[in-house]
Structures are given as structure tokens and as C-alpha cells.
Assembly symmetry: C2
Homo-oligomer: 164 residues x 2
DNA sequence: GTTATTGCAAATGATTTGCACAAGG
DNA sequence: CCTTGTGCAAATCATTTGCAATAAC
């Protein structure tokens, strides 16, 4: 975990007159140790391995805290559960493309998209706060070549492909 | 409900070797009788008034059917429950702006946004299927004039403003 | 010492499902 | 008839919450 994240979290905690605890530290560490998306439960598993006592309840509560602090973002990948994305600190305006063949999620930034959406928002009489764009697409490689390395990998790992 | 919707639903049902039932007709009618967004439960309430026997289970099952038939779309307004949008038939590529002051949802179409997203998707090596953009914003009127007619209306009607 | 935080287990709320009965084709 | 659809109530699943014990500051 990057030192500035730690600082920002500390500041937030102090500012809100909350307390720094071992659990919060451990969970924050688990959140920012990778750039992968995760669900609350996946994080609970991960945090459990490192820190001895961390309950699901505390994971949920701490996730809420991190979101409120602006360090973490909830995203919707269309699979009926909240996914958390720790990469908005490094890429503040990125979007997500979900391949419905293999379930792979591609993050991408595009200044034109961000700008255009902002313009449209203002034209409608609003002040833009945040935008979330999810593009669902199929893999062009699978269509033309008949195979997609990600799809094969996904099937091998027993990954759930789409919706429920 | 527009006749073409009826036809498309009939075709879908026939094609899938399903059966046309009074409940499905009643629910479809309730879905397409307005252009308002709704939740499963709101639809259940609405359908109950018209058709005598319609259970929640059947509402959920029929919603799935309509989505699968491409007549209805699930959207995410960020309030932790599935919202259904019956307006994609008339506006196939529209997006949603949610005012976080008053909870109002504004639908808007913008050909530039759609086109730009499609280009970006292709550049990434994918074939675009659908895109969902949600913009969260604050009401400019509220900020500058100190009041927003929608917010007042929302508060009066006891509308839940954002998240849970 | 206060007051916030935690873990547990129970509660919640939306959605799904098993099953016996009802009804389309 | 034969198979699909329905209502009901019970089951699921992610998430939240009440509460007594625990730990920050």
C-alpha cells in the first residue's frame, strides 16, 4: 500500500474523530495490496489470511469507510453484487469494459469520453460529480479466430461467466 | 401498450415454445403502460391492482422473460436494487443522469457519446454490445438559487434520497 | 474513563426456488 | 393429455444491525 493512501486514510479518520484500529489497517492493506477488483467476501478471505481476527461485519464497515473517504469506489459489473475498485486513485476517471465471452474486465481511460459526458451534463443543467460507464462487449478474437485465450483460462479456472 | 411490443412478445414466446398466459399479458401491460422506471416490487403493486392474481414470483419470472426478449432493460441507478427501464424500445441508446440532490433521473440520448464509446471499444479489440452510462450530478439550480423544485417535491412525497 | 469499534449472531430485504395444483396448446 | 406456468411459502445470498465485550485516545 502506497504511503499517501495511508496518510489520506489517517487524515480522514482523524478528521471524523474516528479511531485507528488494527482491523482497519489490515483491511486497508488488503484492499490496496493489489490493483484487482474484489467483492466484500473475497476481501474478507484475503484479509483473514493476514490478520487473525477480522469479521465480515468489520470488512463491510471498513469498506464503507474507505468509500466515504474517497479512496475506494463501488462499481457495478452487472453480476448482482457490489464490486470494489481500488484503482481510482491512480486512474481517477477510468471506465470498465466487460467481455461477456470470458468475463474479463478491461479498465480504460479516455479523456474524450470524460469531457463529452461532462459537457452533456452541464447542457442539461447539472453539475457533474461522477460518471460510471460500463461497456459490455464480445471478444473480437473469439469471433474471428474461433478462440479467445481469456475464455479458455476462465473456463479452466471455473470462473463464473456472467449473471448469477 | 404499443401493438408492436405485443407482437414482439408473442413472437418471442412462440419461438421459445412458451405459453401465453393471462399473468404474462397483465404484467407486460403494466410494464409498458407508462414510460416510468420501476422496481420489481413497484410493478407487483401496479399489476396487483389490475389483475386479480399475480404473485411476486410470477412478476420476477416475467421480468426475466421481458429482459431476455430484449423488450425491457435492467438499469443500475446506484440504489442497491434492480430498476427496470421500458424506454429502450423508443430510445435504444439512452443514458441516465441521477441528481443526487433530489433523486430525479433524467434520460438523455447523445449520438456522440454512443459513437465515441463504440470507437473506444473497437480500438480495444472488442465488439460493442451495449453500454450503460450513469452520470451522478448535483442540480445547478439548487446551487445557484438555493432551491430546486424537484428536491422540494421529493421531500414532500417522502421519497428516499439516495442509497438505502 | 469515555466513546468508538468489534465480533457474533440474528435480522433484513431483494430475489429465487421446490413443489403441488392449475391451465395452455 | 402432456408440459409449462403459477402461487405459496421456504430458501438464498449479500449486506446490515443490535448488543455486550473490547480497545482507542
Amino acid at each position: 500500500m502506497d504511503a499517501s493512501v495511508q496518510t489520506r486514510l489517517d487524515d480522514f479518520i482523524r478528521h471524523k474523530k474516528l479511531r485507528r484500529t488494527a482491523q482497519r489497517d489490515a483491511i486497508a492493506k488488503a484492499v490496496f495490496s493489489k490493483d484487482e477488483h474484489f467483492t466484500a467476501d473475497e476481501l474478507y478471505e484475503r484479509a483473514s489470511k493476514t490478520a487473525a481476527n477480522t469479521s465480515r461485519a468489520t470488512v463491510y464497515r471498513t469498506l464503507g469507510l474507505l468509500v466515504e473517504a474517497g479512496l475506494l469506489r463501488e462499481i457495478d459489473l452487472g453480476d448482482n453484487q457490489t464490486t470494489y475498485d481500488p484503482n481510482f486513485l491512480s486512474k481517477p476517471a477510468h471506465n470498465h469494459l466487460v467481455c461477456i465471452d470470458c468475463g474479463r474486465v478491461v479498465e480504460f481511460e479516455d479523456a474524450h469520453i470524460a469531457l463529452l459526458n461532462d459537457c452533456v451534463t452541464r447542457r442539461l443543467g447539472f453539475r457533474p460529480l461522477r460518471q460510471s460507464l460500463r461497456i459490455e462487449a464480445t471478444c473480437e478474437q473469439l469471433r474471428t479466430k474461433g478462440r479467445c485465450p481469456n475464455l479458455i483460462a476462465a473456463r479452466l479456472s471455473g470462473k463464473r461467466l456472467r449473471k448469477k
